[in-house]
Symmetry: C2
């Protein structure tokens, strides 16, 4: 493995997880630029890096990974000062190379398809990383780095990556919200969220081992209108959840009717 | 453990899984009543039971477990012929004791909160089972049987069980449908559903280890209107999925705004 000199802009969830992973795999973390002192200072300690509170990357490095909130991305990229031969990449699913200022010549995207939470260690070994690059040399650098943390590396253009990001919203954010709503309903009985955990585990195991389509159960897929009617009555405490129930039931019914 | 003599009405997913589990735990499966020859005959072989194609349970048993589709439940319960001292229970989340005909004196509900698929073995050891009974003696019998397959046994009235069943629809059926929709979007790129699997695993691990509320990520919870706008444009291929996206994004935004 070639160890690279890697700097970071950002010290949030994505930057923190990625930075620690790359550090553990033997890369040299050079500088971490971050406004928020706490995240940044704790990260530089773990990764033996230097903390800077501006975007002036004045110590030479091979690559700067910019992992900041989407709405700050353009501003941060524009503010970066670094050597001409330094590659700069961002980690956003929804943006491509067009967001970089022209002065950055060597640029790319390093998008890990995963959900990150602060302080939570991820098993990176099979997390897919989708790469885009301004030229072959940058692509080779990105691949070389990506393969040190995962076996699952893909070249991807912006359109595909955007679509994957959208898929991830359904697979992760929306499914997780279903768990939240289920918990909310569960707490209306005297039972704890724990009673739903074996069900959630089995739901996911089944969807991943078979396919989600083949695993679908419940009143909607068996067109059990009596139960659906009863459920809608039970949901009278929340018009919003009732709307969601109707929408998703229609969507399931429609899907399995066509098939 | 007291081995009981147990008969089944139904040989579908719930009946099949439960029947095999009870058989493996040392209970005697007596008769299995089922119209569909194939499920029933294969189940009687595995469980050394007798198959009957009617509801005349003419061999003495302690309990008959009725696990049939909800829309057939009333008819099946009404058709059952058995000894007066035999307990009859159903496994439906949405029905209580009111669905039994008056002639059945000893009755109850044995509701395992889990998703069942044909031929799929479940780890029953911590699957919660919710029990309701017409009298104490029946409740003791149900508990005694339930504790042979799981450590998680609860007494529950019909109202609570109905609410749990509704919670299960969100936790299982709707979350699984999110995986199906995500897969659908994913296949619009050249990538396989496999690229979403590490994300789905981590989503669930996180929700179960922390809480789903604390684990929520994505554009909705961080109120990233730019990304949401882009996603809605990408969803122009499906008005239905667009509606679901809007509904769930509103629901997430609302939840985390209030908190």
């Amino acid at each position: 493995m070639t160890p690279y000199r890697i700097s970071f802009a950002g010290a949030g969830r994505v930057a923190g997880t990625l930075c620690q992973e790359l550090c553990e795999k033997g890369h040299k973390i050079v500088q971490i630029a971050s406004r928020e002192g706490e995240n940044g200072t704790s990260l530089v300690k773990t990764c033996y890096a230097e903390w800077i509170d501006n975007l002036n990357f004045n110590i030479p490095c091979d690559i700067i990974i910019v992992a900041v909130p989407d709405n700050a991305l353009k501003e941060v990229l524009t503010g970066i000062k670094c050597a001409d031969d330094t590659t700069v990449v961002h980690t956003a699913g929804s943006y491509g190379l067009e967001i970089f200022p022209d002065v950055i010549r060597k640029k790319g995207v390093f998008y890990p398809l995963q959900t990150f939470s602060k302080g939570r260690k991820i098993d990176f070994s099979n997390v897919p990383v989708f790469l885009e690059a301004s030229d072959n040399e940058v692509m080779e650098l990105l691949k070389s780095i990506a393969y040190t943390i995962t076996t699952s590396v893909y070249e991807s253009d912006t359109d595909k990556r955007r679509m994957l990001h959208l898929a991830a919203v359904f697979a992760c954010n929306f499914s997780n919200h279903m768990f939240t709503l289920a918990k909310h309903i569960c707490l209306k009985t005297c039972y704890d969220f724990d009673v739903l955990k074996p069900l959630i585990k089995e739901t996911v195991n089944k969807a991943l081992e078979y396919t989600p389509e083949a695993s679908q159960t419940g009143p909607a897929v068996r067109n059990d209108t009596e139960t659906i009617k009863k459920h809608l009555e039970l949901l009278s405490f929340s018009q919003e959840m009732k709307k969601i129930y109707i929408e998703l039931t229609d969507s399931i019914t429609e899907l399995y009717r066509i098939k």
